[in-house]
Symmetry: C2
Subunit: 280 residues, 2 copies
């Protein structure tokens, strides 16, 4: 079994309750990555909604930092079970406190017609010509990078270069599992929150950008190979920003769209890593 499948495995306890483990390797600094936490919760919801496996729409609210290397439980509630959609709630809890709250609609993307309207992948250099994401760029340890191979378009890299112009921040690049596991729906949820925040391309690595809320829409099951990701912020005010993301598979198919509301902490008010609500 590969690492991601092992590290998102959920075991049923009683009706509507599952047990898992928040593995420390999927962390940014000492905080479990928000996309990893959400993929754990969605893995539990998929078990609860046995008829539907594809997360068509998943929203997570990040309540408190999670605890790396510790057990978790996910309480699931079926909100509505329909023919084409299962709608569920889930709460991921550690040490007696809720860490993330999730609301999701699962469906089936097995049979797909070609898109009527779609967005083409941006043209960026091949993975070999991109810059590996590294913790040194951000001044933080990134255990996540032992699991994920992330290559950033050098024209949008998180080194203070501004790829914008008209008041926007953009980061683009490639992502895949280091152990060769193929991307799938659950991986897209992880990948939607594994790149550096787009605002780093304008502001430099300004520290923690904790997610308040993240919504991921899976649009198609990805083909094997590299995933291309692009993340854009055009709206930042009053210490909060919106980041829009999109992922394309190796066939050029748009496989997911995502959007998050995040906090840009004032450096003077920035809490220590252990106090951040979640890590991107």
């Amino acid at each position: 079994m590969n690492q991601f499948d092992n590290d998102t495995r959920m075991v049923a306890l009683e009706q509507g309750r599952m047990a898992g483990h928040v593995h420390a390797v999927w962390s940014i600094g000492s905080n479990p990555n928000g996309g990893y936490l959400l993929s754990l919760a969605v893995a539990a919801l998929r078990e609860a909604a046995s008829a539907h496996r594809d997360p068509l729409s998943v929203t997570a609210h990040y309540l408190r930092p999670a605890l790396a290397g510790q057990a978790c439980t996910v309480n699931t509630t079926m909100v509505r079970s329909g023919r084409s959609l299962s709608t569920l709630r889930g709460t991921l809890t550690q040490d007696g406190a809720a860490r993330i709250e999730v609301l999701a609609a699962l469906g089936d993307l097995a049979e797909q017609a070609p898109p009527v309207l779609t967005v083409a992948a941006p043209q960026i250099p091949a993975p070999e010509a991109c810059v590996p994401r590294s913790g040194a760029q951000q001044g933080v340890m990134l255990p996540l990078l032992e699991m994920l191979d992330i290559r950033l378009d050098p024209s949008t890299g998180p080194l203070g270069t501004c790829a914008s112009g008209g008041g926007s921040a953009r980061i683009a690049g490639w992502i895949r599992f280091r152990d060769g596991r193929a991307p799938d729906a659950l991986a897209c949820i992880l990948f939607a929150d594994a790149f550096p925040p787009a605002v780093f391309s304008v502001l430099g690595p300004v520290g923690w950008v904790p997610t308040i809320e993240l919504t991921v829409h899976l649009r198609a099951r990805p083909a094997p190979g590299w995933i291309l990701g692009q993340f854009v912020t055009v709206d930042m005010q009053d210490g909060r920003l919106i980041e829009d993301g999109a992922l394309w598979d190796s066939q050029g198919t748009l496989v997911s769209q995502s959007r998050q509301l995040a906090l840009l902490l004032d450096p003077a008010r920035r809490p220590p890593a252990s106090a951040a609500r979640t890590a991107q």
Copy 2:
């Protein structure tokens, strides 16, 4: 009291439970509008989260069509109560069945600094030079239009004109309450789902486009006057589409962003109005 405040008024029953009424005037055909239903639910969540009034992030999943002209209850649960954010769940129920399920973070937008990054409002003709939205365009009664004055940019109107080019559908226009009520946070939630679906600009009025899930981010409290809305779809496949929306106030401030996942029903498989999950 103006109509919208009256028609979103919630009365506390017992702890965590509120009563209201789904007024028939806020309907599309015979179905209560999805934005109106969400503003009812958020009105209840605001009462439950007394410390925080502004819906920073609100996600609704539409489970079943609501019942116009009938009572409703909203069960609210405080997920986390913090200094700067209150996170809550809510379920709007009628006649014993859940109609929409909501997850929201409320905060305070009273003190705002100027935006660091933002999106300028599109240039469209003044309201007097735009085309009033009408039910005749869609072949359906729109009671909602007795409450809301909606004027569509004629270059993007819902009459089959294609404002696109590169594979996108766009609708833009103006919106305000007919009774002169000023826009506010709750109104922005209604306005985020009160325009015709953007795909009508490409496909013509193809019928019901029921919302599966809608997320609204309030970015600033709106100034009095007309609100300018723009709604864009660039991603439609397999009978599902994503529509991105933005609202600007009369000062040109970006006051909300929204995104919804909706079903584009095959005309041959289109259910009667009473069976649609919700109406846009």
